[in-house]
């Protein structure tokens, strides 16, 4: 664990040093992220000009969902997706051989090599939105609330990572899988809205099959005081199961890797 974190820190440092050469990219990213944040806020504004609540959530509470959506989206964009892209390219080009021969767990290695530092802008913007939402809701801060929010947010990250890992593993069988990643990223957009408003079949899919909306809604539930200890435990069990299954899928996929140079 400590070793993994150290590796993550080292790789991130290299990526960040590399990116720091291109400072104009920071302003471009800031512009793009602010633009998409503003568009999202306008959309929420338009929806709530017609209704006081959506699926039982007020505008301020929906803002909390949007904040979590943005924050988790930033983590996806900073760490998870860039790593998965490089991994899939490596499979396609046969470069994964170099990773597999290293004396370290391969799943760990392919998960920590990239760090798109400018995308952290989204994490920061997400935190700002969350702060505004919390102020508007006027919640009583409590240790339970902070703990539940932190824990569910972490579980959300693990869930998203596991889903992305399992999907990327498909690259071992089908080399062209970027459409799959695009599809997952657009499914993630469903997380902007409370998962409860979707029709039954879609809600089940977004909770158990591709738990992206679930990953966003649960932390927002924690923050708005809706989360029961039972749901928290259930989510924990589900997260652990998902992480376990994704590791199994990873090993299974690895067996199918044929390499290019060997």
């Amino acid at each position: 664990m400590i070793r993994g974190l150290k590796l993550f820190g080292l790789f991130s440092r290299i990526s960040i040093l590399n990116e720091l050469q291109y400072r104009a990219n920071f302003f471009l990213q800031l512009f793009q992220s602010s633009l998409s944040l503003a568009t999202g806020l306008i959309v929420i504004g338009v929806v709530f000009s017609y209704t006081p609540t959506l699926g039982g959530w007020t505008q301020a509470e929906l803002l909390a969902i949007y904040g979590v959506f943005y924050l988790l989206g930033g983590i996806l964009g900073t760490i998870i997706i860039p790593n998965m892209w490089v991994f899939m390219e490596d499979v396609r080009e046969g470069r994964l051989d170099f990773t597999l021969t290293k004396p370290e767990d391969a799943q760990l290695l392919i998960s920590v090599r990239q760090f798109a530092v400018w995308r952290l802008v989204e994490v920061v913007l997400g935190i700002v939105v969350l702060a505004v939402a919390v102020a508007q809701i006027g919640l009583q801060a409590s240790w339970w609330l902070a703990f539940a929010f932190g824990a569910t947010l972490l579980m959300g990250v693990v869930m998203l990572y596991s889903v992305m890992l399992m999907s990327s593993t498909l690259a071992f069988w089908f080399t062209r899988v970027w459409e799959l990643m695009e599809m997952l990223q657009s499914i993630y957009q469903a997380g902007r809205w409370p998962v409860g408003i979707y029709p039954e079949w879609l809600r089940m899919g977004l909770t158990y099959l591709i738990p992206v909306a679930f990953a966003v809604t649960i932390p927002a539930e924690a923050l708005t005081g809706r989360l029961t200890p039972e749901t928290l435990l259930g989510t924990l069990a589900f997260t652990v199961a998902l992480a376990f299954v994704s590791r199994k899928v990873w090993f299974f996929g690895l067996k199918h890797y044929t390499g290019a140079s060997a």
Partner: protein, 282 residues
């Protein structure tokens, strides 16, 4: 060979025919290419469909909560709006920023420039052909959405007849403006921000997000000066059966005007852009 000495006359005579042949070849190439990647295309279709399904769910939830209707749309009419949306999207889909960037960076454009026709003509043929497999892939999804969301649409026969024309014109409008944006790649590689701006504007001013009359009044007045609504809102409303004969006529005129405007803009920018292009190898 013998004709080349007799001047340009014979060439000019056959040029329309050649032009059409060229479109057909480019279109067939698109169809054959896309039919190979069935799984990938189905995934792409899901990627495209998620967006309207989200809007559809949000707005029909709102409509139901507000006693069944907002702004003259019931939940079933919202369903109709967004299901037609998916078909319109298949048609107004055109080449994106990365395609342009790739073309210039890899020097592909050098080869395209050597051809005796403008690259935009080949694109046009290709993307028109692209509509055939796109519509085929759309069909099962459209039927599925229809069964799941039970939409209500009631167009007159003349609205149904007009729809294909309006649809193609919508494609032309969007095709032209994406090409203009694509030309910016000649000046800078970092065009993602620009496209982001375009898509944000499109989302708010085209009816892509929600039927335009539900947007705030200021949005609607700005939208009248922009091409976006003719690529989403107008064709959708035609098939929904909410456009009067007079508005249909004006709408088609507006579409044609935007195509002419967009095309002139392309030609204008192209002249400047092409001067900046240099390629090695290719």
């Amino acid at each position: 060979m013998t004709q080349s000495s007799s001047g340009a006359q014979p060439l000019r005579q056959s040029s329309l025919r050649d032009r059409i042949d060229m479109y057909v070849v480019a279109a067939r190439q698109a169809i054959i290419e896309q039919l190979q990647y069935r799984l990938a295309n189905m995934m792409f279709m899901v990627h495209v469909l998620i967006e309207p399904v989200i809007y559809l769910v949000v707005w029909s939830t709102v409509a139901r909560a507000q006693g069944g209707e907002i702004g003259g749309y019931t939940a079933a009419q919202f369903a109709g709006y967004y299901i037609i949306w998916t078909l319109v999207r298949q048609f107004n889909l055109t080449l994106g920023p990365h395609n342009f960037n790739w073309r210039i960076k890899e020097g592909r454009l050098a080869a395209e420039l050597l051809r005796p026709v403008h690259p935009i003509q080949v694109d046009l043929g290709y993307y028109l052909g692209f509509k055939v497999p796109q519509t085929l892939y759309w069909l099962p999804m459209g039927i599925l959405l229809w069964l799941l969301f039970k939409p209500e649409i009631n167009p007159e026969w003349w609205q149904v007849l007009a729809f294909p024309f309006v649809l193609i014109l919508a494609f032309f409008v969007r095709f032209c403006f994406m090409w203009v944006l694509g030309l910016v790649c000649f000046w800078t590689e970092k065009i993602d921000a620009l496209f982001e701006l375009y898509f944000a504007a499109e989302l708010l001013f085209s009816g892509r997000l929600v039927p335009l009359e539900l947007m705030p009044a200021w949005t609607q007045s700005i939208a009248n000066f922009l091409p976006f609504q003719w690529t989403f809102y107008f064709p959708i409303e035609v098939l929904l059966g909410r456009v009067s004969p007079v508005d249909l006529g004006w709408g088609v005129l507006a579409q044609v005007a935007w195509v002419v405007g967009g095309y002139s803009l392309i030609m204008l920018v192209w002249k400047q852009a092409i001067k900046r292009f240099t390629a090695v190898g290719g």
